[in-house]
């Protein structure tokens, strides 16, 4: 299917075009949820270009900002869309690690792909994951780390989720600079995500959405 001009503008990183197109559509009375869906289609193009090696982290960051600016007039639609999101992920950086950049990028690309993000921030206590899962009904958990010293904290967070009887109800995704497939297995995660886009792909696969 040919992308709409708005989706293509986001996909082509046209910051000077996308927000204006949104305004025009809203002024013309178009449904806000439909406009939001076009922006999300644009982010899907960005994701495809990242996967194919045309775009890099720099472009993901820029695209995230374009999405944020262009969707600013769509806050009601975003809230409404969150209620009917294809799924919810509880996201955070694990205990004793205050690095937030990777986690934030993951949050941006996940939310712009129609997944509701509950962001716990950094230095997250193990019990906070359990509380957030219970409160949000999330079926996905995304844990980030930049330090090898917090592998055990990540493992403890997964174990805490298990002790709370929630392990079978959630899929745990992990990522961050020092993570590897072996480290993901060590902490008891279900998926290792090398990039933020890997997180989107894994989340969509788990949720059964294209």
């Amino acid at each position: 299917m040919t992308p709409t001009p708005l989706a293509q503008a986001v996909g082509d990183l046209q910051m000077d075009v996308a927000p204006g197109l949104v305004q025009e559509k809203l002024a013309a009375g178009e449904d806000a949820l439909a406009v939001l869906a076009e922006l999300q289609d644009g982010m899907a193009i960005v994701g495809d270009k990242f996967e194919s090696g045309e775009y890099f982290l720099s472009e993901l960051i820029f695209a995230g900002e374009i999405f944020k600016q262009a969707s600013a007039p769509l806050q009601d639609a975003i809230a409404q869309a969150a209620e009917s999101a294809s799924g919810t992920i509880v996201l955070g950086t694990v205990k004793n690690d205050i690095h937030e950049f990777g986690k934030n990028i993951a949050g941006t690309v996940l939310s712009s792909n129609g997944i509701k993000v509950v962001d716990l921030g950094v230095d997250v206590d193990p019990q906070a994951w359990v509380d957030a899962i219970n409160e949000s009904g999330a079926t996905l958990v995304g844990m980030s780390a930049l330090l090898t010293t917090v592998f055990d904290q990540m493992k403890e967070a997964v174990a805490t989720i298990e002790r709370a009887g929630l392990r079978d109800k959630v899929t745990v995704l992990v990522g961050g600079g020092p993570m590897t497939q072996e480290a993901a297995e060590y902490v008891g995660a279900d998926h290792y995500c090398e990039t933020a886009q890997d997180g989107v792909i894994a989340a969509k696969r788990v949720l059964g959405v294209s």
């Binding site: 910051m15 004793n96 934030n104 600079g177 020092p178 480290a183």
Partner: protein, 381 residues
């Protein structure tokens, strides 16, 4: 030809230790892409050394003499270590690289927490113009006074005390590889502006960023030459953290990273020192570009994310490679896994033009037996 390392100014002077000369010869041969009597080894240790020696991170950070003693003690426990990258270390100095203060153990953080960068938006968009108008030195001077007092104090402490520790290591036969760092303007601006904002600037105000980077380089060229002439050889880190190709599209990387990186490396080499390319993250996409750098002069040190085996195929005979036992393997792996990986490195990346090392720096929680297996691996050949 690079000079053999002599005691730095301020270090005890005296005839070189024969063991030091043997190890230095081994390393020099590797740097020139030759095959030494055996593959040399070089380590970067800070918090790992603390854990080995039972020293609190807070004590390590607060006193350079404690850091030197701690690293020295860990080296002696590990056995036959040809070289360390740093003889002593004050983590607060990292603020000078990324223009952001560090949160330190024993101060903002618990005694045994890792130091972490306190990254916030401190450089504003208008600062790009100010750097151009004022010049890098004056602009940096006022920024230093405002945000980086601790980093400046750490720098002064290193200037005063580090030479003594270099001398201590040399006296015991251990080569101290690195004298200082030569920092890329991108790392400075990105750290002071934050990754998010700086990346946005590359798209929305690229000419301003470029002008500021050129203003920084205008002073850094001569500063770098003067620094190397004052301190002398041996190695200087021309590092890459946020500038890795993994993070940037070729268009941005070609404009904002490579020209400056290449020039800084050439300056270090022209001054007779070894550019230590401490490159974190994945450099696979641009590894061929390293053929543009001076031949048989640089050392490429990667962190486990770059394919060092492929890099060897491309850079064989042109550049010495160093690395790259992955941090996760040293912390979570078994000694058998470490031994097997080191064997692959020795065979496929060595024995010519290769220095055995951990990827990046030793993880704090690396298992001692795994590190020992890596250290001992070079003796098997």
């Amino acid at each position: 030809m690079v000079e053999t390392q002599g005691p730095p100014p301020g270090a005890p002077q005296g005839p070189p230790n024969p063991l030091f000369l043997e190890r230095m010869g081994r390393i020099q041969t590797a740097i020139h892409c030759g095959t030494p009597d055996r593959v040399p080894l070089s380590l970067v240790m800070d918090t790992f050394a603390c854990n080995v020696m039972g020293v609190k991170y807070s004590e390590f950070c607060a006193d350079l003499d404690v850091s030197g003693q701690t690293i020295l003690g860990a080296v002696e426990k590990l056995g036959d270590v040809d070289s360390v990258q740093w003889a002593s270390y004050a983590p607060a100095i990292l603020g000078m690289l990324w223009l952001a203060p560090m949160k330190l153990p024993g101060r903002e953080l618990p005694d045994d927490a890792l130091w972490q960068l306190d990254e916030q938006v401190r450089i504003q968009p208008e600062d790009y113009d100010r750097i151009v108008e004022m010049g890098w030195g004056p602009w940096f001077g006022q920024y230093l006074g405002r945000y980086l007092g601790e980093a400046a104090a750490a720098g002064a402490m290193m200037q005063e005390k580090a030479p003594r520790w270099v001398g201590e290591f040399m006296g015991r036969g251990t080569v101290v590889f690195s004298a200082s760092t030569v920092d890329h303007p991108y790392e400075h601006l990105c750290g002071g502006r934050t990754i998010q904002q700086f990346t946005m600037d590359l798209f929305t105000r690229p000419d301003k960023v470029e002008a500021a980077m050129q203003a920084i380089m205008a002073e850094k060229r001569e500063q770098t030459r003067q620094m190397i002439r004052a301190i002398g050889p041996f190695g200087y880190w021309v590092g890459s953290w946020r500038t890795a190709p993994q993070f940037l599209s070729p268009k941005l990387w070609d404009r904002f990273v490579w020209p400056y990186m290449k020039e800084l490396v050439e300056i270090v080499a022209e001054e007779g020192a070894i550019p230590m390319l401490h490159y974190d993250a994945c450099w696979d996409r641009e590894i061929e570009r390293l053929l543009e750098l001076p031949a048989r002069t640089c050392v490429l040190a990667t962190d486990g994310q770059t394919d060092l085996f492929r890099a060897k195929e491309i850079l064989r005979g042109h550049m010495c490679l160093m690395g790259d036992v992955p941090p996760a393997m040293l912390t979570l792996g078994t000694t058998d896994e470490v031994k097997a990986y080191c064997d692959r490195l020795l065979t496929d990346v060595g024995p010519d033009g290769f220095i055995m090392a951990m990827g990046c720096a030793m993880p704090p929680n690396a298992k001692f037996e795994n590190v020992k297996a890596m250290v001992d691996s070079v003796q098997r050949r």
